[in-house]
């Protein structure tokens, strides 16, 4: 036995109050397990946060929540929040996106797509005559996939193969396919494919490697349940979750960084904080990547099964990002901005764009939102809030000398603003009142993201649901007893909704295990 001097004991310790950490904390507390959440920051939320510059409060990361849904048609996330009784005001995003390509060999696009099944199909037919049949098929397939996953979730452990193959045959046939393979099999017109792939940068993998199941479910929930954002930035959700956790008897400690997860004989036995406190627990829910956990957190290292390293290294980290937060001294009306979300790409050659993430060349992917188009009073009258996100791998910053760092930040930010101008004809630069630029180093610093990777592991086919399930016997995710992962690196894929739901899932599983051991 080790001789750690534990000064406290917790039913479960959650490392990090990000989306996964908070969601799992609330779920545990609701199920009678009192979690202790340790957060290194002075504020909870991780990426779900906000910050103030001058007279603007900027949303840190959220563009829109998928799977929330209107009152009469809640998605999984909406149901989860309802069951918790979260006090958050959500506002619906009117349209899906405006997609603009600016250097497109197949002809530049500038289209705006709506957020509902029928409207989406019709609008597509308007832009691409003859697309109706294949697009309808694609979206029905997305629906089938969504329903298949609901069936799997409901019948955990006892899936009837007959039912699965009979009722959800198309799900089984497509679950190992890429987005590209499915579009091709449906013989969708090329232009419709390009329009339909607009969301690809939300997942960060090109259509030739991106697992269809994940893209399909995302399309389905956006079109079926709509897209929502909280009125007071995602910090409002984080604060509501924190309140709920406290109400239910959980504890959240800020400014409290965990240094080690202590393991012994293959089991979690506690954690050690940076302040030097030892806390006893048999359950740790880590809101961090496996990369971070296995390289830094678990202690002692010789207790870590080598298989953990292999499983981690077999996965590919998603890209990092740069975000330019801009407060403008003109309203969206004055600027002529009508759309909330713009995807501005060089072209819809997603493979080429994906490859560009690894080089320091011109950025050719941006997702840009104007918060005032959904929440008009999110900034004072006569002003507006814009944020531009581009993707690239953190490693391209490795060659930037420290003294060149600020200049490089400004250079890329200017490039993104000029690309926005190229795409929309609107030059916002003269109206910049506040500007803040986040880089991969920012996300590594504030969010402790390994290599600044903002999402999770890439949603490629090999790392998707079914191949993982098929090989689960010989790669058991619980190589260390009592350790689970939540958030973008949890059991669901990444993104806001997925990371909340990964926390919900892990919370339920841990609560069940905990009750078992208490018996």
């Amino acid at each position: 036995m080790s001789d750690y001097k534990f000064t406290r004991e917790a039913d479960a310790v959650i490392i990090g109050a990000g989306n996964g950490g908070l969601a799992s904390g609330a779920t545990l507390a609701k199920n009678g397990v009192k979690p202790l959440i340790l957060e290194k920051h002075s504020s909870p939320g991780g990426f779900a946060s906000s910050f103030v510059r001058g007279r603007f409060e900027f949303e840190t990361a959220l563009h829109e929540l998928a799977d929330y849904g209107p009152v009469d048609n809640r998605g999984n996330l909406g149901q989860f929040f309802d069951e918790l009784g979260l006090d958050v005001e959500f506002v619906a995003v009117p349209d899906a996106y405006r997609l603009i390509t600016v250097r497109d060999p197949e002809g530049n696009l500038d289209i705006t797509m709506p957020l509902s099944f029928e409207a989406y199909i019709e609008k597509m037919e308007e832009y691409v005559p003859g697309s109706k049949e294949s697009v309808t098929k694609y979206l029905s397939l997305c629906k089938e996939v969504y329903e298949a996953l609901a069936y799997l979730a409901k019948n955990k452990g006892n899936v009837d193969k007959e039912v699965l193959l009979g009722e959800y045959g198309n799900f089984v046939r497509t679950c190992a396919a890429t987005q590209q393979q499915v579009l091709k099999a449906l013989k969708m017109p090329k232009k419709a494919q390009r329009i339909l792939n607009a969301y690809w940068s939300y997942l960060g993998v090109d259509e030739h490697r991106l697992n269809f199941t994940i893209y399909g479910v995302m399309m389905y929930v956006y079109l079926e349940k709509g897209a929502y954002i909280p009125k007071l930035r995602s910090h409002e959700i984080s604060m509501a979750l924190e309140q709920k956790i406290r109400e239910l008897g959980g504890i959240l400690e800020l400014n409290s960084e965990v240094e080690h997860i202590l393991i012994e004989d293959g089991e979690v036995i506690g954690v050690k904080t940076k302040r030097g406190e030892y806390i006893k627990t048999s359950q740790v829910l880590a809101n961090v990547s496996q990369h971070m956990a296995y390289s830094n957190l678990l202690y002692p290292k010789n207790e870590i099964p080598s298989r953990c390293y292999q499983l981690t290294n077999a996965r590919i980290l998603s890209p990092s990002a740069m975000v330019v937060y801009v407060g403008l001294n003109k309203s969206v009306e004055e600027l002529g901005i009508k759309d909330y979300e713009f995807f501005i790409y060089d072209s819809m050659d997603t493979q080429e764009s994906y490859q560009s993430f690894s080089s320091r060349g011109r950025t050719n992917v941006q997702a840009t939102v104007f918060l005032n188009c959904v929440i008009p009073d999110c900034s004072p009258p006569g002003t507006s809030i814009m944020s531009i996100t581009t993707l690239h791998h953190g490693s391209i910053w490795a060659d930037v000398k420290p003294e060149e760092y600020f200049e490089e930040k400004e250079r890329i930010a200017e490039e993104l603003l000029l690309e926005f101008k190229k795409g929309t004809g609107i030059d916002v630069i003269p109206y910049i009142e506040e500007i803040e630029i986040a880089t991969p180093a920012t996300f590594a610093n504030i969010n402790r993201k390994y290599n600044g990777s903002i999402y999770g592991y890439e949603c490629e086919v090999l790392d998707s649901l079914i191949p993982k399930t098929m090989t689960i016997q010989d790669e058991d995710e619980n190589l260390i007893k009592g350790l689970s992962f939540v958030g973008g690196f949890g059991r669901r894929s990444h993104g806001f909704s997925a990371s909340y739901m990964s926390g919900e899932l892990a919370g339920r599983l841990v609560a069940a295990k905990w009750k078992e051991t208490k018996k």
């Binding site: 510059r53 098929k137 292999q310 420290p402 400004e410 009142e433």
Partner: protein, 403 residues
């Protein structure tokens, strides 16, 4: 719906399991280095372990301390001219912090012999400045965090014509900017309007004039004195002075640094300078005002008295005395309780705490609180004054390391 015919189909699915197993089998046993994590640590270290390299007296009450990296720590993080470091001190039983602008230039922090300079004015009765004057000498270790702050030139936001308005010791960020621009940048120009009480109040005059002489097209300096020495302009740093020294106001960015009374005065004066847009005026945060009761929105019925604050840290409560004219942060520090702080001006949110009960006065000039926080009763104790007995929940904080 009808069967989707897919080339990969079920066979691919069966193959997939094998491919996945193979990939795992071939994977490394070692997690690769987190390159960006290392860069982030270098750019934003958790704390700075510094040593006083040398001390220079600027005048009787102002000293410049040159700080270098402690022997066992890494090189100094880069910064932008105008940023500050937060000095962490333990004085008696109080742990406190002060934000000091780095008065040296970013290029001087580069490399193995890099340094930061901070310039400290000794305030009579000032807890921290007196402590620094009495204790900091060559070789003394200093704990800090940073660099922090948003008071710097941004090429996308700001005009190339910069007007630096300094009051007294508020010259420090502009010394950094002028030195840096002269060394590295030749795109923008800077006019320094420097308001001083008297001749003794002027800092870095010779040094700045040397730079101006070498780059006459980039820099200009005009001083104004409340009590002018012979042959120097007498007067105040007001609208008239600004108007008489500058033209083309609409294409300038004003950086303003000085005591908080100067800000209150200048905010009114700028209305007479012309129809300036808010983006053109950038005020540096300056810590708590010397006398909060002189602020024009200080509640008329507020008394100067002692109240009691019940402070909760991790479910333990402490009853501490506080003065209505001092910040809640000051009361907490004086009681020997720990609460991290950084800007001490309401902006950064490091001391963010929850007010459970009580009446308070909040300085909103640099209010960095977020909308959801305001709704839930969060305060930044560094800019909040207790007007009645209060109950406040503060987060646990880390004791400063070493010395």
């Amino acid at each position: 719906m009808s069967k989707i015919k897919l080339i990969p189909g079920l066979f691919a699915l069966m193959r997939m399991a094998g491919t996945r197993k193979k990939r795992i089998k071939e994977a490394d046993f070692k997690i690769r280095n987190d390159i960006i994590g290392q860069i982030a640590k270098q750019m934003h270290p958790e704390s700075l372990s510094l040593v006083v390299h040398s001390v220079r007296a600027e005048n009787e009450s102002v000293r410049t301390y040159r700080l270098i990296s402690a022997p066992d720590s890494t090189s100094l993080p880069v910064f932008q001219a105008g940023q500050y470091i937060s000095i962490k001190l333990k004085i008696g039983k109080s742990q406190t912090s002060r934000a000091y602008t780095i008065s040296s230039a970013p290029y001087e922090a580069e490399g193995e012999n890099g340094y930061y300079e901070i310039t400290v004015r000794k305030k009579p009765g000032g807890l921290v400045s007196e402590y620094i004057f009495d204790n900091w000498a060559e070789g003394v270790g200093v704990n800090a965090t940073g660099p922090h702050g948003d008071f710097f030139y941004s090429p996308l936001r700001d005009y190339k014509d910069i007007v630096a308005i300094a009051g007294g010791a508020g010259i420090t960020p502009f010394r950094s900017m002028i030195k840096q621009f002269a060394e590295k940048e030749h795109e923008m120009n800077l006019t320094l309007l420097y308001g001083c009480k008297n001749e003794n109040d002027v800092l870095f005059e010779r040094e700045i004039d040397e730079i101006i002489k070498t780059h006459p097209s980039l820099f200009r300096r005009v001083n104004v004195y409340e009590n002018a020495p012979e042959g120097r302009p007498q007067g105040y740093l007001n609208a008239e002075f600004i108007n008489s020294n500058l033209e083309d106001m609409q294409n300038k960015t004003f950086f303003i640094c000085g005591p908080s009374v100067m800000y209150e005065f200048l905010r009114k004066e700028f209305l007479k300078v012309g129809n300036l847009r808010r983006k053109q005026l950038r005020y540096e945060v300056g810590g708590a005002p010397d006398n909060v009761t002189k602020r024009k929105d200080w509640p008329a019925n507020a008394e100067c008295k002692t109240v009691q604050i019940t402070v909760y840290i991790q479910n333990i409560s402490y009853d501490i005395p506080a003065s209505t004219i001092e910040t809640i942060l000051t009361a907490i520090e004086r009681a020997g309780l720990l609460l991290d702080s950084q800007c001490r001006s309401g902006e950064c949110g490091i001391c963010r705490s929850k007010l459970n009960e009580g009446d308070v006065y909040i300085i909103t000039d640099n209010d960095g609180r977020r909308a959801a926080d305001k709704e839930l009763g969060y305060i930044h104790p560094c800019s909040t004054y207790p007007l009645s007995d209060c109950r406040v929940t503060i987060p646990p904080s880390n004791p400063i390391k070493g010395r």
